[in-house]
Amino acid sequence: MAQKQQDQELLQYESRIKVPYTWSVGEVGSRFLMELKENRKIWATRCPSCDMVFVPPKKTCTYCFSDIHEWVEVKDEGVLQTFTVVRYETPLIPGKPPYIIGIIMLDGADTGLVHLIAGVPHDKVKVGMRVKAVFEEKRKGHILDINHFKPI
């Protein structure tokens, strides 16, 4: 695109940053994702000091900074705390708009899990509705091994 100022054509340089990344999940996160993959189960970690149960799991408590070693299983269903129906297109989403993103408080957990919501008309989604995880048939140890959460 070229514009002019003081009779000088103004150039722009179209470019991109394409540095490839390979992020470490770490032991704690790997255990969580492998449980999704192998057993379709959602595991959390529990803080020994303040008893908070974290999903996704933490190695350290956000609130009291204690080291966490204890694992607890939480249910694959819970309560929708908030949601949005996304109307714009982005290459970063698996799927086409409109689609729904929500935060779910799973039964047994004390922190919300951000995930996709589907299997419900957009005007029927409500804060407070119960939802359940729908697992992918082919799983690879990834947060999207849960395809989405659907209303019960």
Binding site: W23, T82, V86, Y88, L92
Partner: protein, 382 residues
């Protein structure tokens, strides 16, 4: 907190906020803001003994984004320089500490961004953790929508109440020569604007912008008598938990903490009565209501009623964002520093057509991270 009573802000400068500045590099924008701030302070670059630049490598598309502006802000003269990555209110805090530490007398704080050169969705997706949140496609828009819904659900706030913020701030922007969007919008305009991510509509969102800003902070005794000197009375900043599910998005606990620290230093007990004008980080309309609560202008959940009662209108008890706020122009990184500049102009009586009468004490607010995770609050006054 102690010691801020020795600190004054003696020069401010900002570029016009525009959708795109095709003739200006980062350095050109920074140079314009710096020279304006120096002029405003009646100083030359020789009077500056240290510099804090402020930029973000993701927004600028460049690792070490500060490298683009060093010459244009005076580092080529061999001055001690550093760089904060985050909102300008945070770098101003560091600039102030560099004086309080006894190391320097006058700090030049500079911020810049060019939202026009990249894609907001890609840049803000990068805020989110790549293991659990980035694959869900989170960005600044859809997470704001999650927060807005949560806030509305918890406290019974209506979409109309949020929309009123947009109407108010856009009306205020008509009188600000630096604002990007200068257009009158009615409540219906906002409510009928295109859905971005329910319940967030186009006119609930701030635009994409280019801009730079600079302030000069002084610790010199003589600066207190400077014609443009504005006293710093208190500053506080604080961060909340990172994962969106780790906090109740409806509550601005970190802002509450940051504000408490600033108020303690400024000896403010009843902010609604003691503060004359506030410039807050209204990246989205609903946020302004949440920030009223975090800043203690009302109780949690009271933001909707405050806007209904007109308390924060230009002629209200505590006008908020007389400049038009970020909803009328949002150069990220620079956004908070412009709030601080506007607060200083209000205290000086130099805000022109959007001047609030009789301002003695003003508040400025900046934010880092998604959904207002980290806040910085400044109190300035005569």
């Amino acid at each position: 907190m102690n010691g801020v009573e020795d600190i004054t802000i003696i020069g401010v400068g900002q570029t016009a906020i525009e959708r795109e500045k095709p003739a200006d590099t980062f350095a050109d924008m920074a140079y314009e803001a710096v020279t304006k701030a120096l002029d405003d302070a009646g100083m030359s670059i020789d009077d500056i003994d240290n510099i804090v630049t402020t930029s973000n490598d993701f927004w600028d598309g460049r690792t070490i984004s500060s490298m683009a502006v060093n010459d244009a802000v005076g580092a080529g003269l061999g001055k001690n320089i550093t760089t904060v990555e985050g909102d300008g209110t945070f770098s101003a805090f560091y600039g102030m500490c560099r004086i309080l530490s006894g190391s320097y007398k006058n700090s030049l704080i500079v911020t810049h961004v060019k939202g026009s050169i990249s894609d907001n969705i890609h840049i803000t997706n990068g805020i989110f953790d790549p293991i659990y949140m980035r694959p869900i496609g989170l960005d600044s828009l859809n997470t704001a929508a999650l927060q807005m819904r949560r806030y509305m659900a918890k406290y019974g706030i209506s979409e109309e109440q949020c929309a009123k913020v947009s109407v108010k701030n856009h009306a205020n922007a008509l009188k600000n020569p630096y604002a990007q969007i200068k257009k009158t919008f009615t409540l219906e305009d906002v409510m009928d604007s295109r859905l971005i991510a329910d319940p967030l509509k186009l006119l609930d969102c701030s635009p994409i912008s280019d801009g730079a800003a600079a302030v000069i902070i002084s610790g010199e005794e003589s600066a207190k008598k400077h014609k443009n000197a504005v006293k710093v009375r208190g500053v506080g900043y604080c961060a909340d938990a990172y994962f969106l599910g780790d906090r109740d998005l409806a509550d601005a606990n970190a802002l509450d903490m940051a504000a408490s620290r600033a108020y303690e230093s400024a000896e403010i007990v009843d902010p609604l009565s003691e503060i004359d004008v506030a410039e807050v980080y209204d990246a989205f309309s609903y946020m302004e209501l949440m920030w009223y609560e975090g800043l203690g202008f009302c109780a949690p959940g009271g933001g909707g009623k405050l806007i209904d009662r007109g308390v924060t209108e230009m002629d209200g008890k505590l006008p908020v964002n007389p400049s038009g706020g970020l909803l009328s122009g949002h150069p990220v990184i620079t956004g908070g520093l412009i709030r601080l500049i506007e607060a200083c102009l209000q205290v000086r009586g130099d805000a022109g057509d959007h001047q609030v009468k009789g301002v003695k004490t003003a508040l400025a607010h900046g934010v880092n991270g998604a959904c207002g995770q980290s806040h910085c609050v400044w109190i300035v006054g005569r």
